[in-house]
């Protein structure tokens, strides 16, 4: 897969902009939701899980369903999720990188074109992602972007574990990926 670098922003520009957004969001969040707590993306997915729990019934007393179903916190984060979809669409259209794709080209190159195989991995991987994010109280945004910046001990440990397990699993999935050019 070829990445046309000229279409992308420099990492420094992106990093500074995300840091300003991150601080501004934390600041405004505490004003709107009256809570001083790192924001994250997990709660948006949590809202969907809570909706599922409430639909099925009998989970009204479940503390996780209660917490994620709470308005306005989780509600804001649900709309952050929707905003992310629109933002990704706008950015990819403007930089002309929008293209429909059933599975990543790099995956296809090493693991074959089977959609079913890839989608089983996607399902398993995302269930682990959701479960792990709920258990470690945050995802990459909450635990690393905000948690590391706030120097939370819990987030530092969680973030280091993200990378340890991520690197080990990636090496297991792609043992033969050699030079740098393979991933480009």
């Amino acid at each position: 897969m070829q990445l046309n670098k000229s279409q992308e922003w420099h990492w420094f520009k992106g990093g500074i902009l995300v840091s300003l957004l991150s601080v501004a969001t934390y600041f405004i969040f505490s004003a709107i939701a009256q809570r001083n707590y790192p924001f994250g993306i997990t709660a948006g997915f949590g809202y969907i899980a809570a909706t599922l729990g409430n639909l099925l019934g009998g989970m009204n007393e479940n503390p996780v369903i209660k917490r994620f179903g709470e308005k306005p916190d989780a509600f804001i984060e649900l709309f952050i999720l929707i905003g992310l979809v629109i933002g990704g669409y706008a950015a990819s259209k403007i930089s002309k990188t929008f293209f429909p794709e059933l599975l990543p080209a790099m995956w296809e190159k090493y693991h074959g074109p089977s959609i079913i195989k890839r989608y089983l991995f996607v399902l398993f991987g995302s269930i682990a992602l959701g479960f792990g994010a709920a258990l470690s109280a945050g995802c990459t945004t909450g635990n690393i972007l905000q948690g590391w910046a706030l120097l939370s001990l819990g987030s530092l440990v969680a973030g280091i574990c993200f990378f340890v397990a991520g690197i080990a699993t990636a090496k297991f999935l792609y043992p033969n990926v050699g030079g740098k050019h393979d991933t480009h």
Binding site: K5, W11, G14, G15, S19, T25, Y26, I32, Y37, T42, F45, A49, K71, I76, I80, L81, I82, G83, L84, V85, G87, G88, Y89, S92, F98, E101, L102, M106, V122, L123, G125, S126, I127, A128, L129, G130, F131, G132, A133, A134, L135, S136, A137, T140, T141, L145, L151, S152, L153, G154, V157, A158, C161, F162, A165, G166, A170, K171, T183, H184
Partner: protein, 176 residues
């Protein structure tokens, strides 16, 4: 009130998604390239963002403009972190990028939304044993209180370490 919440959420999400996609952070080969230690753009992007926001957070905190809240350390953090990391490598992206990638036209991300929500739902079903096993005791997450030193004695060394890592990695890998 609810309208403010919706607007705020949409604007934050839009800007976040726009920056992530525009910087190329959402691409599958980039995420895998980072985990395979071959493409360091995401690392440089993350460390830049963390260093910058860390300094702003603590400066605003000193001015009394915001209250900083830290996450405590319990067994859920390392155990959940390892499960999350495994999932991130199998999937090829994290929760924020799942959503942005739907906007980029990547079909598999739609399935990942349901998978992630399902993972949280399973967590909710198992919350009783998890609480007893992993979340029963915790350590204060505020390191300046924990170690009894002024926070700038932690902020400045960590900022320097991050800047040195960015510099060294960037000298070796020019993936801008």
């Amino acid at each position: 009130m609810i309208l403010i919440n919706i607007t705020f959420g949409l604007v934050v999400g839009f800007l976040f998604g726009y920056i992530l996609t525009r910087t190329g952070i959402t691409k599958y080969p980039r995420v895998m390239g980072m985990l395979l230690l071959q493409d360091f753009k995401i690392l440089k992007f993350m460390l830049t963002a963390i260093t910058s926001s860390m300094i702003i957070f603590y400066a605003l905190g000193d001015l009394g403009l915001i209250t900083l809240t830290m996450k405590n350390l319990d067994w859920g953090k390392p155990v959940g972190g390892l499960i999350f990391g495994m999932g991130m490598a199998i999937l090829g992206y994290c929760p924020g990028t799942i959503a942005a990638r739907i906007g980029e036209g990547k079909t598999e991300s739609i399935l990942a939304v349901f998978g992630t929500a399902l993972g949280i739902f399973i967590y909710a079903l198992l919350i009783k044993p998890i609480k007893a096993l992993l979340l029963s005791s915790e350590i204060n997450g505020n390191m300046s209180i924990l170690f009894g030193i002024n926070h700038w004695f932690i902020v400045i060394p960590i900022a320097l370490v991050f800047l040195i890592i960015i510099y060294l990695v960037n000298r070796k890998f020019h993936d801008d």
